[in-house]
Each structure stands twice: as structure tokens, then as C-alpha cells.
């Protein structure tokens, strides 16, 4: 009997050798005359175990990882094609605690299926949400999204249903659905994983948005740093057209929805929604003044549903299982689940999807297993380059939008970057200002000029030149950026800077009270 062996095609897995391992397994099986079918699945998100090879056995799929090409003959010797023990064996993958402890709604299929197989997608629950949405009126569909409590996962956490209702209620000859797949935050890769490991769920979510609001054309604005995701999306869209999910007659409903991929060009600011729209229109990514909001006047001046990849990918299950099912996860005003990304200096990094309310302590130690270097974790940055640095004393704050806002932090897109005790926080603060200077669209003076001044000022503080005065200047600069910037790039860069200064003054050559005395 042919043994099915799974080797992920996810780019993270490929980046650490999955292609070569897949080939080695096929070659070695041929050599030993063992009938094997190598399937390129998505990643389960246990990225520290990649390449994670899974073997289908009567008792379920058994995992081995991280596998190198050199391990392959030894795995065969051990009988891994029957699920036999080996030092790399992690046992049945579905029961592996790191995975079993998660609440996977968005990422239910990731790693389980072949991402480009429509029939597997359907066999694992795909397309039911779209069918349900097609049977509803637009108003009912939008109401379901509102009822689910879903808030945008791109960073600003705006209620998705309200946005969709505005688009539905705005009459126009053409409306658009735009997916923000710019995923520029360091420490985030959940959008990439959806696109590479379960792209149909994004396509289905966008189609539902179109059906619900009356938009017939969609665009996915994809960052140019993601060529693997681009290839996966192109292939999935092609298949979606051929099975009638996209096109003039969505699943035989007589409704139309077409979808295109557009590539960004390496500008972080183009993740900001109005800059993204400018870019899609073929212009420089200069941030627009709001109002009008994109829901009323978006792409080419038309009403536009604009959401993040994870927001759209959360939609199908809401329509399949019902709004209440989704909103029963989470706490307070943060409903549902969040795909959290554990990144940087972490032993067991990867994708953890959990209901809101999980703490950093659980994430960093129970899931993450501590730092990769083995040294103490000193701080983490949550929410990308505009997110605050969080000290250990706050690792027990429940991860939800309001709880984080109350400590001056931000959940953002759910990326967590871990630093051990060798980190120099003055350098990280300097980097935050430098990044803002590199990526500023240039429209506002506080952001464009202030960030460059910020770099210079932090340099002087590091060198110990007139620290007291320089600190006052830095604080002043941050306040000007906070209040005088049009968008969050200029407006939130002060968060990582000020949090670093507040929690780690000694790195800036200051006394524990934040005063320049220690200079």
C-alpha cells in the first residue's frame, strides 16, 4: 500500500530545507522500492520543527522534525514510513500539546491539507460559509458579521460589521473588496501562512464580503517580499475560477465576483489603508486625509471593503458555524480567536491561534519554551514596529485589545518578537526612529523630520552628551509626533521609543528613576 508522507511547502519550511527533504524522501523510497506518495501540505505553524515530516498511519499522522536530508536514510532504517519511533519523532501530530492546546478556527486546515487542492478544502469544511452567505440577504449577512464581534486584525481593530454595513448602504455603480496583504510588521507571518497554507479560505472570505456588500471585484494587495505567497495565490485563484467560486456565476448563484492579485513594492507605509489604495491606483503611497473613509470613497473613489487577510480568513467559519459560535471565544470586547505569531529569540516559535485572553507568560514559556539562546527573556515587542516594548512585570496581562491599550501597548496584528537579556534597548529605540525615517511617506513634518531628529537625539543620549537636555528634546519630539502626525507611523513610533526609555532607562545610561544622574 502506498504510504502518504507530508512535507510542507510553506516558505518557512522551504527556507530550512523542506524541498530538499521532500526530494530525498522520494528518492530514498524509490531506492528501497517502498511505494510512497509525497504530498506537499501547508505548515502546521510549528515552525521550530520545520521541516516537519508527517507519515500517515492507521493511528493518524505521526510527525518527525526538524528533518534534514542526512536524516532521511536513518528515518527509513527506523521504519518511519510505518510511524516507528525515532529521536525526531513527536508522535501523533494532532495530539502534540503545542497544537492540541490551540483554538484553531482560522487555521483549522493549515498543515492538514494540500493548500492547492480544492477537493480537500471542501472535504475539510471549506465553501460552506460562502454557500450560507449566498442564501442570505446582504443586510442579514452584514448583520452576522457585526454579531460575531469580529474586529479588524490588521491593527486598528475596527469592528468589521460596521465597515461592511457602510459599504452595503452606500449606493454606487461599482464597489470593491480590497485585501490588505502588505503584512509589513516584523514578527508577523500569519497572513503569509494563510495565503500559502490555506489560500482558499481567503478567497472564500473575500467572495463573501463581495456578495454581502454588492462588490463585484476584489484585489489582494500583496507585499513584494512574498513571492511564494504570490505563486500560491495565483494558483488558488485559477482553481477557484475553474470550480466556479470566482467569476460571473459564483457557485451557480448568478452573482459575480472576480479577484486579482496586485504586488506592492517594498514600502511599509503602503500597509496603511489609504496609502495602499493610492498604490493600487498606480501612485506613490501617500497617506490620504480621512474622511472620506474607504468604505464610502475607497479604490478609484468607490465604496470599498478593505480588510486584513486574517479578518477575511475569519469570515467563512462565522458563516459556516454561526456568529454566536465565533463570539463565544474571547473576552470583553475582543471576540473570537487571534492567530498569534511567536518570533525572534524564541525556542519554539510559530503560529499559536488562541481565543483572546491568553497571557504572554503562557505564550512565551508554555508554548515558546523560553528564548532560543537559553538566556532569560528580557522584553518582547508586541504589535509590530509601532508596538510598545513590554517588560516582564507585564507578562501576565491578558492579551486583548482593551487590556493592552490600558497599559499603553497594542495587540496589532498579533506579532510577538522576543528579546533576551543581551538586547540593548537604546539601540532598539534608535531603530524605531530610524525605521520611521526610512518608511515615512513624507506628508507630515513631525514624522518625516522628527524621526531623523529622533535618531540623532538618541545617538547623543547613547554617547552621554548632555543627557538631561537631550532627554527633554526626545520627549518633546515624541509628543510632537504623537499629536502632529496624520497616520500611525509617525503617531505611534513614540510608543516603542518611550516604552524602551521608561522600562529600561539603564540602557540609555540613566538611573533607575529615568534621570540622567548616572551619566
Amino acid at each position: 500500500m502506498t504510504v502518504r508522507i507530508f512535507v510542507p511547502r510553506d516558505s518557512s519550511a522551504v527556507s530550512v530545507g523542506a524541498d530538499a527533504v521532500a526530494k530525498a524522501i522520494a528518492d530514498e523510497a524509490t531506492r528501497r522500492a517502498i511505494p510512497v506518495a509525497v504530498i506537499r501540505n501547508g505548515s502546521r505553524g510549528m515552525l521550530w520543527l520545520e521541516p516537519l515530516v508527517e507519515v500517515e498511519t492507521p493511528a493518524g499522522r505521526v510527525g518527525y522534525g526538524p528533518v534534514t536530508v542526512a536524516d532521511v536514510p536513518k528515518l527509513f532504517d527506523a521504519g518511519f514510513d510505518r510511524g516507528a519511533p525515532h529521536p525526531l519523532c513527536i508522535g501523533p501530530v494532532d495530539a502534540y500539546p503545542w497544537l492540541a492546546k490551540q483554538e484553531r478556527l482560522c487555521f483549522a486546515r493549515a498543515g492538514v491539507t494540500d493548500p492547492l487542492s480544492w477537493s480537500e478544502y471542501v472535504a475539510h469544511g471549506g465553501s460552506r460559509g460562502l454557500r450560507a452567505a449566498l442564501a442570505m440577504t446582504g443586510a442579514d449577512a452584514v448583520a452576522a458579521v457585526t454579531e460575531s464581534g469580529l474586529r479588524g486584525r490588521g491593527g486598528a481593530a475596527f469592528p468589521t460589521g460596521i465597515k461592511w454595513k457602510t459599504v452595503l448602504d452606500t449606493a454606487a455603480d461599482q464597489k470593491y473588496v480590497v485585501c490588505n496583504a502588505d503584512e509589513g510588521d516584523s514578527g508577523t507571518f500569519s497572513d503569509r501562512m494563510v495565503m500559502e497554507d490555506d489560500p482558499f479560505v481567503l478567497i472564500e472570505g473575500m467572495a463573501i464580503a463581495g456578495i454581502a456588500t454588492g462588490a463585484t471585484v476584489g484585489y489582494i494587495y500583496l507585499r513584494s517580499e512574498y513571492p511564494y505567497a504570490e505563486r500560491a495565490l495565483m494558483a488558488a485563484i485559477e482553481t477557484a475560477r475553474s470550480v466556479g467560486v470566482l467569476g460571473d456565476d459564483v457557485l451557480g448563484s448568478g452573482r459575480r465576483f472576480e479577484l486579482h492579485v496586485r504586488r506592492g513594492a517594498g514600502a511599509y507605509i503602503c500597509g496603511e489603508e489609504t496609502s495602499l489604495l493610492e498604490s493600487l491606483e498606480g501612485k506613490r503611497g501617500m497617506v490620504r486625509f480621512k474622511p472620506p473613509v474607504p468604505a464610502i470613497s475607497g479604490l478609484f473613489g468607490k465604496p470599498t471593503v478593505l480588510n486584513n487577510v486574517i479578518t477575511f480568513a475569519s469570515i467563512p467559519i462565522i458563516f459556516d458555524r454561526g456568529a454566536t459560535f465565533y463570539r463565544d471565544y474571547g473576552r470583553g470586547r475582543s471576540r473570537g480567536t487571534l492567530p498569534i505569531q511567536l518570533a525572534g529569540n524564541i525556542k519554539q516559535g510559530g503560529l499559536v491561534e488562541k481565543a483572546f485572553g491568553v497571557t504572554l507568560n503562557e505564550l512565551l514559556y508554555d508554548f515558546g519554551g523560553g528564548s532560543a539562546s537559553g538566556r532569560p527573556i528580557r522584553t518582547v515587542q508586541v504589535g509590530g514596529p509601532l508596538g510598545a516594548y513590554i517588560p516582564e512585570s507585564q507578562f501576565d496581562v491578558p492579551l486583548d485589545y482593551e487590556a493592552y491599550a490600558s497599559i499603553g501597548a497594542m495587540v496589532g496584528h498579533g506579532g510577538i518578537v522576543v528579546f533576551d537579556d543581551t538586547v540593548d534597548m537604546a539601540r532598539m529605540a534608535r531603530y524605531a526612529m530610524e525605521f520611521c525615517a526610512i518608511e515615512s511617506c513624507g506628508k507630515c513634518t513631525p514624522c518625516r523630520i522628527g524621526s531623523t531628529r529622533g535618531v540623532e537625539t538618541i545617538d547623543r543620549i547613547i554617547e552621554g552628551r548632555d543627557r538631561g537636555a537631550q532627554l527633554a528634546i526626545l520627549e518633546d519630539l515624541c509628543n510632537t509626533m504623537l499629536s502632529g502626525s496624520l497616520c500611525a507611523l509617525g503617531g505611534m513610533t513614540p510608543f516603542p521609543v518611550m516604552s524602551a526609555l521608561k522600562h529600561f532607562p539603564q540602557d540609555f545610561g540613566l538611573g533607575p528613576d529615568g534621570l540622567a544622574a548616572a551619566a
Binding site: W48, A265, E281, R284, Q341, A343, V417, V418, F419, F435
Partner: protein, 166 residues
């Protein structure tokens, strides 16, 4: 710009000009094909889209991705964002500078390798990350970098210098 390059620019322009918001797809089509957007292509692009040359130039220069000069035969992009920094990206940068004798935006004198900075490749759980001619690499060490550089040089010797950049 050579005759054949101009022809290829015109083909890309013809392919993209009718798309809504055509300029970015057009610039990508040109750079995917030639490795950069030749300044001599700007008038052709501007004419096709009824834009001024300054507008086209403004767009090209706004985006970090577009190059106005040909890259080396191989392009090494190093991630310099926070997650990669937390686990040694700056050591890689130092190693690359030392081995290649160039800085970011530079190309080695023999035209073999260009060095570029990127800010996140979405491989932050397998950091530090680099991308070599469009192929993603994770958990990169200095030894792996050496191997990448040596392979790039070797490949060139064997194929007699073919196009490397995506």
C-alpha cells in the same frame, strides 16, 4: 538601454497599459524581465499612461523595490527588522559587508552580487532570514552565508555567467 531591452519594455507596457491602476504592474513587469527599470524606459511608460515623466519618476523613487540600475547577477536581501535583529541579523550584515566588500545598495566590482536590506520576509520564527535570488533562507548562520556566497561564485563560473536576479 539596448534595442532588445527597449522592445521588451514596450511589450511590458502593452501588456499592462489597460489595467486599472496600471503603473505598478507595469513597473513590476519591466523589472521582473530586466532586473531593473531603465531610466530610458520612463518616457515610454509616461506616454502610454498619459502621465508626466516626473510623475513616473516620482513613483519609481517612492518604492524601495524598484531599481534604476541593473543589479548584480545575484541579489542577496538581508532582513534587518526586529525579529531578525533579536537573533543575530547584524552579525550577518557584518559578515556580508566583510566578505563582499560592499554596503547596502552596492554591487561587487565583478558584478556578481548585490546587497540589499529588507524589513521582514515573513520568516520571523526561523530568523535570521535572507532571500537569495528570490529563494527564502531561514536560521541563517555565518557559515550558511559563506556557503551562499561561495555557491553564487561557483554557479557563475560553471554557467558562464547567466542571469541570476529574479
Amino acid at each position: 538601454m539596448q534595442e532588445t531591452q527597449l522592445q521588451r519594455v514596450q511589450e511590458a507596457v502593452a501588456r499592462c497599459r489597460d489595467l486599472p491602476g496600471a503603473l505598478l504592474p507595469m513597473l513590476h513587469a519591466i523589472q521582473d524581465d530586466l532586473g531593473y527599470v531603465p531610466p530610458e524606459a520612463v518616457p515610454t511608460i509616461a506616454k502610454a499612461l498619459a502621465l508626466s515623466r516626473a510623475e513616473v519618476h516620482g513613483v519609481i523613487s517612492f518604492y524601495h523595490h524598484f531599481r534604476s540600475a541593473p543589479p548584480g547577477r545575484h541579489v542577496i536581501q538581508v532582513c534587518r527588522a526586529e525579529a531578525c535583529q533579536s537573533i543575530g541579523a547584524e552579525r550577518l550584515v557584518a559578515r556580508l559587508r566583510e566578505r563582499l566588500g560592499i554596503d547596502f545598495h552596492g554591487t561587487t566590482a565583478d558584478g556578481a552580487v548585490s546587497l540589499e536590506a529588507v524589513y521582514c520576509l515573513g520568516n520571523c520564527a526561523c530568523a535570521p532570514a535572507v532571500m537569495v535570488d528570490g529563494a527564502l533562507r531561514g536560521r541563517v548562520t555565518e557559515a550558511v552565508l559563506d556557503e551562499i556566497i561561495d555557491t553564487a561564485a561557483l554557479v557563475d563560473e560553471h554557467v558562464g555567467v547567466a542571469g541570476g536576479a529574479r
